[in-house]
Symmetry: C2
Subunit: 502 residues, 2 copies
């Protein structure tokens, strides 16, 4: 992928600086802006007026609580005033945001290139007339798919399906697995009358007992099919009927990696053996394993990494067993590991069979190999199958990534951030452990969840808004325009917090 | 609901006429506009330049076919040039649209009130900074939920959850059923350690074997949980593993209704008996029926209606058996039956337990009774849980419905349309049968699917773009701004087509 090259910058991004200034000025709400980060004006640092959530957030939480459960609300946000890496709340607090809407803001808040999209009258109809994309696509749809989604497709993948969100991307990716498996099983014959009628009542043979393998600690979404391959926390799973599908243990590596090479290889080998065993067991029980879902880095489950060798071996096992390999890049995709797709770090001999995305990509969806393309219409389908306005915005995101070499930025800042975290690990060995990461997709562990939550609260009172994952981890999910001076702001607040808490 | 009253019109809708003119002029692409329908300029009728799909649509289909299966594509659309009830394709054809993106365009293409939303600089940040709504909601979120979603809530419902689309609204509505059932079963006790750990591996008791009852011919969506209660066509179901959940027969009424009252009552009673039997059977098998999903009118399954008495009895059975009743108003909601929610036609003694919506509502989601509200945070949750920009647009839609008394318009036009269809039924008794409908949510049957498809093609060559449903039905799904003169255009084309084909 040549998405680093400046030569790819399209003329329009230069032509539109004027209209940008006009829109940016309307949105430059924090008057003290001194910095411009990858084209986006930013305040010169966090500034707090109240504790967070402040009184206005608390009032709004009480109001909202009359309408729905608000236990997950952290604070109310003033999105018009948020800029770049800084999130502004309704109490006038401005925080450095390294959680970014659960890792879903690609190039910062109110980036001028996104405001640009809104300033073009010819784009407005895309936002107010939502098409049934698989029946009545807009005239520029093919071009948008090419210039946005296909321009960053994982090597070797030429087919793409848009979807509304991550969970339905996984669900429809699984359906592509099932369709393909049954088509091959029929050996070119059409489905039988019995299949066609029994499927209407959820019965065999029309609804066969196929399974998908997944991993302990995995998170793939919250609808029934996506939830069946999710195993990270009880809060997502308890009380919900779920098919009995095979689960293998995801390797839990020991850090630092270079001191634990042999043990980690053994841990991974045990996991791979379990994958082989589960496939064999479920196949034998007449419940064939037709697919395997895996995150390149388990995020929600605690930022669990495995080695490139692990993924290479997993792909080999899948191929030997005719199991479709789906890599879930919903949280890892779109550049935050320093490559556009995290699985590009694995040097797989060939691309995965399906790559699912959402979050920073703004649209859900999945790439798939030609073999997985359904032969019949309406098999992978719903009313909207995504949203063309999100693909329009994604095109601007991808152009911005190219324009400002943001993958290079992520690599540089990520190294700087990780070096800083290792320093903290040395300085505060009883507090900070297991520093790990690719690009700015980094994380550290604390002694336990309570300790972690306390650190997150203290960081917020210093103007740094970070997120948790797993039992006792803090995850870094900054934007792609997060730079070294932002990392400095974080590290300063982190060090002071650790000094207080050691 | 006082949504008919003009007194509810908010001042801003009057104040913004000026900006409207400015934006409308940019989008008045069909110069011959003579009509203004509910505030929206429209061409004076259909006009065709080529057959549909024309050469440019065909070229684009070929291009798109390199990227995904295109078997479901009908034609490519010029959304900027589409206006009100008229859809413009890429070959310069302008058609009267009574299918409207599978029933998902509420107030016509490019309505000035929607363009207004885009013309306010303070709204732009809502379109480019998508929040994680259940963690970091925008400052106007409570107000938006009140003025948009709660202002049209079904009587007696005060809780609402937004979602991205129809399928995930059903899935999360089902989760609310499961959570509530298990909470009651625990009688106030917390979940056991065994439940908390077993659910992570998809096992009992954490993942109990609960079921949801649904009906033959039903359509509720295409993710695994929504698909488990869907039974309309094999194309949605074949090859996908699906839980064995109970299905009862949906009544297939005989028309005309007034000539078949006794027989229809018997048909409905048999269906109700089956519901009782299935609940009893599955409960006995240790697979308790905790919920029931039903459409007020089965749309995708063939526009199948049942009587208010049927729904009243169904609600009674559900209450007797502590089964949560979910009414799926994804296609029927937002006014097209002449009431805002189709189930309001049923005079239920109390509201359903859950009402799901999407399509014309622009955002997915569901209303639910207080009892179904989860006690814990993160139980009904995902990254985005909907999209605040869609709720912003929905607010403008609802204000427009009020401003132009569009529910009255739907009732008037619907009666006019149905009278016309009855006339066609009399004139062409061998072609047209089973005229039925509420508001403009109407349909007719033809002798078979081939006949129907031929009629739809002929209608299109006369500039009228309609949709199919079921085996041999044509469904009317016009916008809420569809008026008698539009019905005349349809009826004229329909009569000519029938004359040719009788």
């Amino acid at each position: 992928m040549a998405i680093f090259s400046r030569s790819g910058v399209r003329l329009w991004s230069l032509l539109k600086k004027t209209s940008r200034l006009c829109y940016a000025s309307q949105h430059t709400a924090v008057d003290s802006s001194q910095y411009v980060t990858a084209g986006c004006p930013e305040p010169n640092g966090p500034s707090l007026q109240t504790s967070v959530p402040g009184p206005e957030s608390q009032r709004l939480i009480q109001e909202l609580d009359k309408i729905q459960n608000t236990g997950s609300i952290q604070f109310f946000v003033d999105y018009a005033k948020s800029q770049g890496n800084y999130i502004a709340d309704v109490d006038g607090n401005v925080m450095l945001d390294i959680f970014t809407q659960i890792a879903s803001i690609p190039i910062g808040y109110n980036h001028p290139n996104l405001l640009d999209v809104m300033s073009q009258p010819e784009n407005l109809s895309t936002f107010i007339n939502r098409p049934a994309l698989a029946v009545f696509p807009p005239k520029d749809w093919v071009q948008r798919l090419k210039s946005a989604l296909l321009s960053v497709a994982p090597p070797g993948m030429h087919q793409v399906q848009t979807m509304a969100c991550g969970a339905c991307s996984i669900e429809h990716g699984q359906k592509a697995m099932f369709i393909t498996y049954q088509r091959k099983k029929r050996g070119g014959m059409p489905p039988s009358q019995e299949e066609l009628s029994s499927c209407l009542s959820n019965l065999k043979p029309g609804c066969p007992d196929l399974t998908v393998l997944s991993f302990s600690g995995a998170f793939h979404g919250r609808t029934m099919g996506a939830l069946a391959v999710t195993h990270s926390k009880w809060i997502h799973k308890l009380d919900f009927p779920t098919p009995d599908w095979p689960m293998a243990t995801f390797p839990k590596l020991k850090y630092p990696l270079h001191e634990n090479e042999r043990e980690n290889m053994e841990i991974e080998n045990r996991s791979l053996d379990e994958v082989r065993d589960k496939i064999e067991e479920y196949n034998r029980r007449g419940r064939p394993v037709v697919g395997c879902c895996i995150e390149p880095i388990q995020a929600e489950g605690g930022d669990n990494f495995a080695s490139p060798r692990f993924f290479q071996e997993l792909q080999k096992i899948c191929k030997e067993n005719e199991v479709v390999l789906l890599i879930d890049e919903v949280q890892t995709g779109c550049g935050s590991t320093g490559k556009f797709w995290a699985h590009e770090h694995f040097n797989l001999p060939e691309s995965p069979d399906i790559v699912a995305f959402s979050k920073k990509m703004l649209t859900g969806g999945f790439y798939y190999k030609d073999d997985l393309r359904p032969k019949e219409a309406f098999r992978i389908f719903n009313t909207w199958v995504g949203d063309s306005s999100k693909v329009l915005l994604l095109e601007a995101v991808i152009n911005t990534i190219k324009e400002y070499n943001l993958l290079d930025n992520v690599k540089d800042t990520g190294k700087y951030l990780k070096d800083g975290l290792h320093e903290m690990e040395k300085k505060f060995p009883h507090c900070v452990s297991n520093v790990r990461g690719l690009g700015t997709f980094c994380s550290v562990d604390f002694p336990d969840g309570l300790f972690r939550d306390n650190i997150l609260n203290k960081l917020r009172s210093r103007g740094v808004h970070a997120g948790a994952c797993g039992d006792r981890s803090m995850r870094f999910r900054p934007t792609l325009v997060f730079q070294k001076h932002h990392a400095d702001i974080f590290m300063d607040a982190f060090e002071k917090t650790l000094q207080e808490n050691q």
